[in-house]
Amino acid sequence: MDMESPLRIFPDSAATQAWRTDVLFFFELTISVLFVLLIAGAIVYMALRYRRRSEDEVPPYTPSPAIIEWSFMVVPFGIMLIMFFWGGYLYVQDRRPPPGAMQINVIGKQWMWKLQHPEGPREINTLHVPVGRPVKLVMTSQDVIHDFAVPEFRMKMDVVPGTYTVEWFEATKTGEYHLFCDQYCGELHSRMVGRVVVMEPEAYQAWLVGTVPNEPAAVSGARLFQSYGCAACHGQRAPTLAGLYMSKVKLDDGRVVVADEYYLRESIIEPAAKLVAGYGPIMPSFRAQLTEEQIFDLIEYIKSLGLAMDTSVPGALPTGPETRPSTQPFNGYRPDLLPNQPPARQPPTYNETGGSPTRE
């Protein structure tokens, strides 16, 4: 963004949905200006043309034909229907990330943004993305509601604790753009800002390689998977996780759901909410054990399992210390069966005062 320019009346357009939004905006702006001119013009004209010329003036009765009243309703509603369908069409596009979009996990907390790339880099308040590639943000909050908004992308979505929300963009122009928290989140709401750095794909690759090496999320997830003893059940008394991501899951109440991030998260923190057909409610909730980042890591691990792989042997992924405690029958929630020691791997440490762990 052009920060030097003192007076801007219109924001930069830096993503594919920006110009689509602007075209609709200018359509509605034109309609609005026309109506304001029509009404203001009519009022000024009639206030002058029919101004009171004597105190005793008694104007004649004029009928108000129903046809005109109906036109007051039908004509505006017709125009509004155009706005509705056009706006609805854009909304559906804004809400449906294209398949194959690169995914970034976003965690909002008072008052900072944690951003996690699939290849490993984790950033604070600054998001590096390549130009010309769809980016899908899967977002959650650790405390209150936040909102991830980038005006130059015409993009905004609340970041809600306890669930995942999704938004996506495809940047069209390199540069740095404001990242705002748009939902009031407490004292330092106005400091929960950052920037999105859009780079040429080559520069982005160089940046990825040049960052402080972080373990890919899937690897961290695999370690968590082992340290919490998940493999004790999954694949045997609990459903196998290989090929689960985005597959259709049949539930015991007959419903069929798609195993997206939302479903996977819910199944980790509230396993009984959607039971897979044929399996009992044996899994405890991990709400208290896992941070939002660890849940993201586990989901990345599940996604990395891809298709038709046996989860009981987490293959080539690096193995952490063996913490599977026991193979005795597991009947319901048994706290003693959960690992007592902390997970083998601590969550990545950040410089919490801000700044990205990059070597810029």
């Binding site: 939004t21 609709l24 609005s32």
Partner: protein, 554 residues
């Protein structure tokens, strides 16, 4: 027609006459009054004080935003300032403004009744407002609240360290004031109309009051319960809205806006009523399409209950509910458009006189039209994704709430001031104040549309430097607007002592409230009026300059 000719001596100032104002003089007689007119005056004084407190919050907000870093040293101070502004203006000024002052004063007069149906409950409503506001004011005095007037969870229920519960108790109690006023008005309109005052002879202000009362009765309990649940979660840690306790934060938004969007119509429907009265009187015309305008109020009240989730388009609701609530939001704009077009068409071939109330009314139409059209942009899903929670939304609802509701309130105060006090406001200063208000308003809020599209988020204590120009413009405009609000306060008080005698009907209105002396006697009418004409039948006025009263004393 059975009308008795207008008697000239009736129009002359009647000194020594007993009015509702001079019937008794003690403070006690005011605090224990059951007269709807005195209760209306009590409301007017109280909400003027609340308005000043809310305006103080707005002044802090605008001053803070003069520099990008924020002039108030602590962000927390700013957060409390905009919360005071929002809570006082919405719950303690705008909601009771027109219904409880002008509505209380005028509703019985307009339908030819002696009082409202339940005068004691009417007085109780005012006391509930006072008790509720005491809680809210004590929350401010003890250190304030920083949640914004929307109280979004889980911030308000588990995170904020301010006096949220005290404020909620205040709003909860004040809610009963609204409910009882609504109940009173509905029963009054159903049961207390004068002979001949059929539903389609009711002034449109009464229709607007009826629609408003429906929302009061049906909507207010929901906000009361919702805020009570926030207090329960805060005090007892029962998981309702906070996901960490097993709750759902979006549930709060659904419940909050289920009231608070209809509440927007509580604030604007009475204004529609005022504008219909003023336009017809100063154009000396029947309203264009009476039945359409009357039913559009009811339609707005009903459809207004079905649009709440347009505040949640970006909160993670499903695409399908987004689509449905977008369509419903456009639908509620249809009866609103009917009103704007009908008011404009009413001027056609009229006898238009641009006195102060008419200036406010025409200003209202202009500003409300801009507010409504930008509302269409926000109802458009694809645009809301960009505009939501920015200054565009702030500008939009201030065009409706301030440009609309407050312009209409001031217009109505000027219009009925002669009836309430028996004195004329100074016409010259009235016109000046109306012009300054219109100008100052646009200077304040138009720059915020630009700011909003540029992306400046709302509720920011500090902002990037490129937004400064528009913020300075807006603050400058706000100081002009402040002059527009202080002027009427001064000259209206001045007119109480020095204003010209108004006489019973200075604007030659056809409406019933003008067919009794100003100020009216305690019992409103000397004899029960009988309505024999359609409303606004200005074409039936006798050309000699003496209006035929719609009420004929028998």
């Amino acid at each position: 027609m059975t009308a008795i000719p207008y008697s000239p001596d009736y129009a002359a100032p009647q000194t020594g006459r007993t009015t509702y104002l001079n019937a008794t003089h003690t403070i006690r007689s005011w605090l224990l009054t059951k007269d709807h007119k005195r209760i209306g005056i009590l409301y007017m004084i109280s909400i003027t004080i609340f308005f000043m407190i809310g305006a103080g919050g707005a002044a802090l907000v605008r001053i803070n935003l003069l520099t990008p870093a924020g002039i108030l040293s602590e962000p927390a101070q700013y957060n409390k300032a905009f919360t005071i502004h929002g809570v006082m203006m919405v719950f303690f000024f705008l909601v009771p403004s027109i219904p409880a002052t002008l509505g209380n004063f005028l509703l019985p007069l307009m339908i030819g009744a002696r009082d409202v149906a339940f005068p004691k409950i009417n007085l109780a409503s005012w006391y509930l407002l006072i008790i509720g506001s005491s809680f809210a004011l004590s929350a401010i005095l003890f250190g304030g609240v920083d949640t914004g007037w929307t109280f979004y969870t889980p911030y308000s229920s588990t995170f904020s360290n301010t006096h949220v519960v005290l404020m909620i108790v205040g709003i909860f109690i004040n809610g009963f004031s609204s409910i009882l006023t609504g109940l009173n008005f509905v029963v009054t309109i159903h049961k207390m109309r004068a002979p001949g005052m059929t539903w389609f002879r009711l002034p449109l202000f009464v229709w607007a009051m009826y629609a408003t009362s429906l929302i009061f009765i049906l909507g207010t309990p929901v906000i009361a319960i919702t805020l009570a649940l926030v207090a329960v979660e805060r005090l007892l840690r029962v998981g309702i809205f906070d996901p960490a306790l097993g709750g759902d934060p979006i549930l709060f938004q659904h419940m909050f806006w289920f009231y608070s969007h209809p509440a927007v119509y509580i604030m604007i429907l009475p204004s529609f009523g005022v504008i219909s009265e003023v336009i017809t009187c100063f154009a000396r015309k029947r309203i264009f399409g009476y039945v359409f305008v009357a039913f559009s109020s009811v339609a707005i009240a009903i459809i207004g209950f079905l649009v709440w989730a347009h505040h949640l388009f970006d909160a993670g609701i499903s695409v399908y509910s987004g689509l449905i609530f977008s369509l419903l939001s456009f639908l509620v704009a249809v009866p609103t458009a009917v009103k704007v077009f009908s008011w404009t068409a009413t001027l056609y071939k009229g006898s238009v006189s641009l006195e102060t109330p008419m200036l406010y009314a025409l200003g209202f139409i202009g500003l409300f039209t801009i507010g409504g059209l930008t509302g269409l942009m926000l109802a458009t899903l694809g645009l809301d994704v960009h505009l939501h929670d920015t200054y565009f939304v702030i500008a939009h609802f201030h065009y409706v709430m301030v440009g609309g509701a407050i312009m209409a309130y001031l217009g109505g105060i000027h219009f009925w001031w002669p009836k309430m006090t028996g004195k004329m406001y100074p016409e010259f200063w009235g016109k000046i104040a109306a012009a300054i208000t219109f100008l100052g308003f646009n200077l304040t809020f138009f720059p915020q549309f630009v700011l909003g599209y540029l992306g400046m988020p709302r509720r920011y204590h500090a902002y990037p430097p490129e937004f400064q120009v528009y913020n300075v413009l807006s603050t400058a405009g706000a100081s002009v607007l402040a002059v527009g609000y202080v002027l009427p306060l001064i000259y209206l008080l001045w007119s109480l002592k020095y204003g010209a005698e108004a006489g019973p009907n200075p604007f030659r209105s056809m409406s019933l409230e003008w067919q009794t002396p100003s100020p009216p006697p305690t019992e409103n009418f000397e004899r029960t009026p009988i309505c024999s004409q359609p409303p606004y039948a200005y074409d039936l006025q006798t050309p000699m300059g003496s209006p035929v009263p719609t009420a004929a004393a028998t």
